[in-house]
């Protein structure tokens, strides 16, 4: 197992190399002179050349590329053009808020999606099944920023149950922190709920039709044991893949939700970077999330072997 994890980590290197190259290329296709775009039309030629020097744009494209890669190897993502802080420091400051948001979203969606998925599969063809199917499809179709807007409008502004936006670190004031967390986490988790619920249902339906479930029933096990002891564990294997993928997407979706709820996480950092044309910040934070995405999928693959002993890793 350890050898497998190590091998997967080594295999990550070419992928990360490709990802960082793609980001480098992307940030270099910015039309026109980046320094002039950042400083505006009235900037003096001296200021522009100074910025070009600071960004390393006066070097050849090959030298810029090796600088970028060498920086990454040392964990240096460059410096923000606006604040001057290292990008890695900024990410470190913002990451806890994003992590809080995504973990809460994940907990909410798993706690609703898996029971509903099982229920729909067990009561296949009933009105519950049809209802969850429609809810699932609707969950995939509802724009998260609109759902969030509606929640702000009705729950926060009309009913005044929860604050519309803002952030309190959990350890400063746990209760207030959860009150701030509720709406964004609910919004972010909703689409994941839909996806996981659909997957749980179809996977469970498939497993319930298999021979070993019939055997378990035939030997007289009570239905609860059949469902949770035999069927669920097997049904969860494909669900786990989806959960892994969706967790990655949560970090992507967080960009939108953080923007809507004024949540000071990585997503806001990225978007502010885009608007302020702070390219090192955009480059660094997107790379950070991509690496996270790859790592999560690795964790999921390792968890597989726990759930499904038939899978052997070499």
């Amino acid at each position: 197992m350890l050898a497998y994890i190590l091998r997967r980590l080594v295999l990550m290197i070419p992928v990360l190399f490709g990802v960082s190259t793609a980001l480098f290329v992307l940030m270099r296709v910015v039309p026109g002179d980046v320094a002039r775009t950042i400083l505006g039309q009235n900037a003096t030629p001296e200021a522009i050349s100074a910025l070009r020097h600071q960004m390393g744009l006066d070097k050849s494209i090959g030298a810029q590329y090796t600088d970028w890669l060498w920086g990454l190897v040392r964990g240096d993502l460059g410096q923000s053009l606006r604040s001057g802080y290292p990008v890695s420091t900024l990410i470190g400051q913002r990451f806890p808020a994003t992590l809080e948001l995504t973990v809460a979203a994940m907990v909410i969606s798993l706690m609703t999606a898996i029971p509903l998925g099982i229920l729909a599969a067990v009561k296949r063809g009933s009105w519950i099944d049809h209802l969850t199917a429609v809810i699932g499809l609707a969950g995939l179709s509802i724009p998260s920023f609109w759902l969030g807007t509606l929640l702000i409008l009705f729950v926060a502004l009309k009913l005044r149950w929860l604050p519309p936006f803002g952030y309190t670190p959990f350890f400063d004031d746990p209760l207030q922190s959860l009150r701030h967390l509720a709406l964004p986490a609910l919004t972010l988790g909703f689409s994941m709920t839909a996806v996981v619920m659909r997957m749980t249902r179809s996977s469970m339906v498939e497993v319930l039709g298999e021979e070993f479930v019939k055997t378990a029933r035939a030997k007289g096990l009570i239905e609860r044991r059949v469902l949770y002891g035999h069927a669920l564990k097997n049904a969860l294997i494909p669900v786990l893949t989806i959960i892994g993928l969706q967790t990655g997407f949560l970090f992507g979706g967080a960009v939108i939700i953080e923007n809507l709820f004024a949540w000071p996480g990585i997503g806001r950092l990225t978007l502010d970077g885009v608007f302020q044309r702070d390219y090192p910040v955009v480059q660094g934070s997107v790379l950070f999330v991509a690496v996270l995405f790859v790592l999560i999928n690795l964790v999921v693959d390792v968890l597989y072997s726990y759930l499904d002993p038939r899978i052997h890793y070499r």
Binding site: G18, V19, A22, T149, V274, V286
Partner: protein, 297 residues
């Protein structure tokens, strides 16, 4: 040999004909039993019609400001109310649909145009498989909305660039699906038979492989359409897509945030439009999957 070849071709063509008939029959039979799919199709036809005829049927100019009617509630003149400049919400929704649907269609078409050939090449020619798929994997490493944001940051916020960004995030998806489908089909006996009969690679791909992997691709394309519209709206909502004063559903929701406490309808109707459109494409995608994919029951 000639007669064997001819009869094989004959058998093949009648078989293909019957199969196509079968698909058509299944579609029709499926539609008769699936009321939701009818609703989705009807909605999409109406939405597409409204988008095409936007200038004719919209009651007002989408950018015309009626200063005497700012934040008007829905009434007979402005059925869905007006926004902060007194612009008619219904007219803006109709014109916004034009952007959403055209961005959706063109980006998915572009993604099909690049993704399917890449997947065919990767799946069919073993030597191309690794180079193509490793590049696709790099793009799949980014959460899609984040990749779209990075692309928009680099290219700048215009409608054309939104199409490019959404096409780029969809190309690896189609390439990957196509590749795995080709791998499943290319070892089958009828492909072997075609090869024995002396068909060249291009002929085999066009005549034998592509027609047999089309169904799952249609399903994915339908789902991608909904997703593309959702992404366009998200980018515009973040201020990275369509720019004012051009009406777009996502952009309307973005500006509505500042006024929604006083006039909730500006925050409600554009969302309903996005939701219903994406919902319809998802229903249609699910319907195609049920009807066209014999594996799912």
């Amino acid at each position: 040999m000639a007669t064997v070849g001819q009869s094989a071709v004959l058998a093949e063509s009648t078989w293909a004909g019957r199969r196509r008939e079968g698909v058509r029959w299944r579609l029709w039979f499926g539609l008769r039993r699936n009321g939701l799919a009818w609703v989705a199709i009807t909605f999409l036809v109406v939405a597409a019609g409204a988008a095409i005829l936007a200038s004719t049927i919209a009651p007002h100019e989408p950018t015309a400001m009626h200063r005497q009617a700012k934040f008007a509630s829905p009434d007979t003149t402005y059925p869905f109310g007006t926004d902060e400049f007194g612009r008619d919400t219904l007219s803006r929704l109709i014109h916004g649909g034009r952007i959403s649907l055209s961005v959706g269609f063109s980006s998915v078409c572009a993604a099909l145009l690049f993704g399917i050939p890449l997947g065919l090449a990767g799946g069919f020619f073993h030597r191309l498989d690794n180079p193509i798929m490793r590049v696709m994997d790099v793009f799949l490493t980014f959460p899609d909305i984040l990749l779209a944001i990075a692309i928009m940051a680099a290219l700048g916020p215009t409608v054309r660039n939104v199409m490019i960004a959404i096409a780029i995030i969809n190309v690896p998806i189609f390439a990957r699906i196509t590749r795995s489908l080709v791998l499943g089909v290319k070892e089958l006996a009828y492909v072997e038979a075609a090869r024995t009969l002396g068909r060249n690679d291009v002929g085999i791909i066009a005549r034998h492989i592509l027609p047999n992997i089309l169904s799952p691709l249609i399903v994915q394309a339908t789902l991608s359409l909904g997703f593309a519209i959702l992404t366009e709206a998200a980018l515009s909502f973040l201020g990275l897509g369509t720019q004012p004063p051009t009406p777009s559903w996502g952009l309307m929701l973005n500006t509505a945030r500042n006024y929604m406490e006083y006039s909730p309808w500006v925050a409600i109707f554009p969302g309903v439009a996005i939701f219903l459109t994406v919902f319809s494409f998802n229903i249609l995608g699910d319907f195609f999957r049920d009807v066209l994919d014999p594996r799912v029951k």
